[in-house]
């Protein structure tokens, strides 16, 4: 293995971004991924890290409207972005997002490890498509692993939240 050039990695970078509506201006280590930045620097531990190489989906957050894996984007790359984490899904005074209420009603979680990623993925998906088929819901969460529920209750919760978002719930 060869030695990095002396200055490699030493320079921190100033970034400013909005997380769940709050503006932050912070210096970051270039190698820190967004998931660690949220959890360690901002102490927003709702975002979970399972694999840190892009296969489990637990770390999903919404960056400028798009669901992304927080372990596969550097914090420095989120400079200027607007980020929503699971902590930011609920409305004012803690009113649950329809997908959160539906998870509660349909037992969409057991241990809860996958839940932040499921909720952010589905919140972004339902913002795009409020009339999904069951197959579309299954495809939407195909990048999120759950070792507890067997997915069935998560799919039911998503379809029920879609109904609520269409004003039929």
């Amino acid at each position: 293995m060869h030695d990095p050039t002396p200055e490699a990695g030493k320079a921190r970078h100033a970034i400013s971004l909005t997380v769940n509506g709050t503006a932050h201006a912070v210096d970051v280590d270039p190698r820190q991924h967004l998931g660690d930045f949220l959890r360690q620097t901002l102490q927003l531990t709702g975002t979970h890290l399972g694999c840190e190489h892009g296969v489990c989906g637990a770390c999903t957050v919404i960056v400028d409207g798009a669901p992304v894996r927080a372990c596969l984007i550097l914090a420095v790359q989120a400079d200027g972005a607007s980020v929503t984490t699971v902590e930011g899904l609920a409305g004012k005074e803690g009113a649950l997002h329809p997908i959160q209420s539906a998870f509660r009603a349909h037992h969409g979680l057991q241990c809860g490890f996958c839940t932040p990623g499921m909720l952010t993925t589905l919140a972004a998906f339902l913002a795009d498509n409020t009339s999904p088929t069951e197959a579309e819901v299954r495809e939407a969460i195909s990048g999120n692993l759950c070792r507890c529920t067997g997915y069935q209750t998560i799919v039911e919760a998503a379809l029920s939240a879609a109904q609520t978002l269409r004003g039929e719930g």
Binding site: H2, P4, T5, A11, H53, G54, V68, I73, T121, G143
Partner: protein, 290 residues
């Protein structure tokens, strides 16, 4: 699972990016990051410098001029999937992209990144080959245009230099009575496919094949076109006999094997995917007996 340290660079223009790459030792280009970030986190990649090309606006976007399509190398896979204008001219992109990773990785992943990573099973390099596309790159020696045929030099080795970046992909679409379809088989949705097949064809007024292109992914280190079978198919009706001719294109192929999938199994899957894609492409071109 933490990336090694590196110096981070964020050029604002193609000229700045290429100047950086010419100057820096052991630099890696960061496109959508959906392959490089896992490689960094697992420390398979140990660059001293990361050059992030995500803030170079001229590298993104889809342009359609007549039959000619240009896709900026940094165009996100999700934006390609969602483009209605591209869907109208080449619907196979939307179809194939649904197999590329997952929504969360397509939000960031780019077409240029997929081409430069060149996983043997990757769908987008297969489509570029299917359309006889060209990859445009730029580096210290200026601009180069590399035909899809010449893009794959070996296992995960595209014909681009370490000091070059891909700028755009161009290709032409057919019009008239045409159809296209993509099929692949993976153990789980979004996994790398065991094999996949893309077919596009154009029928003449008599319903016979005027032009056809067939590509396989996952069977070799780079996408494989079945050129001899394509030639043999011209002038035929796109019927069951034609599918047999298409599948005969697999016979001479030396197919990859790994611990899970023998070469024979992978070849079988490739043939099934090819037959399905052929049938659907023919149907969408308006053929009756496929």
């Amino acid at each position: 699972m933490k990336s090694p340290q590196f110096a981070y660079h964020r050029p604002q223009s193609v000229a700045d990016a290429t100047a950086l790459l010419a100057r820096l030792e052991n630099a890696k280009v960061l496109a959508g990051g959906q392959s490089l970030m896992p490689m960094l986190n697992m420390r398979y990649a140990l660059p001293d410098h990361v050059v992030d090309i995500n803030r170079i606006p001229e590298l993104s976007g889809i342009t359609i001029e007549g039959d000619r399509i240009t896709i900026g190398a940094m165009t996100r896979q999700r934006d390609i999937e969602r483009s209605d204008a591209l869907f109208a001219r080449a619907p196979i992109f939307r179809e194939a992209l649904r197999h590329v990773g997952h929504i969360q990785t397509r939000s960031r992943g780019t077409i240029g990144g997929s081409l430069c990573h060149l996983d043997p099973a990757a769908e987008l390099p297969g489509l570029v080959r299917l359309f006889d596309g060209t990859v445009h790159v730029i580096g210290p020696g200026g601009e180069r245009s590399i035909a899809a045929t010449d893009w794959g030099l070996g296992y995960m080795t595209p014909a681009i230099g370490a000091d070059e970046i891909a700028t755009a992909i161009t290709f032409n679409v057919w019009s008239g009575r045409r159809g296209e379809a993509f099929e692949e088989f993976a153990r789980r949705h979004g996994d790398f496919a065991i094999a996949g097949a893309g077919v596009r064809l154009q029928l003449d007024t008599g319903g016979h094949i005027a032009r056809v292109a067939m590509v396989l992914v996952g069977v070799d280190v780079a996408p494989v076109r079945l050129l001899e079978a394509e030639t043999a198919l011209v002038g035929r009706a796109p019927d069951a006999a034609a599918i047999a001719v298409a599948k005969s294109g697999l016979d001479p192929l030396d197919v990859l094997s790994d611990a899970q999938n023998s070469a024979a199994y992978r070849k079988h899957i490739a043939g099934v995917m090819l037959a399905r894609a052929f049938r659907r492409a023919a149907q969408s071109a308006g053929a009756h007996h496929a």
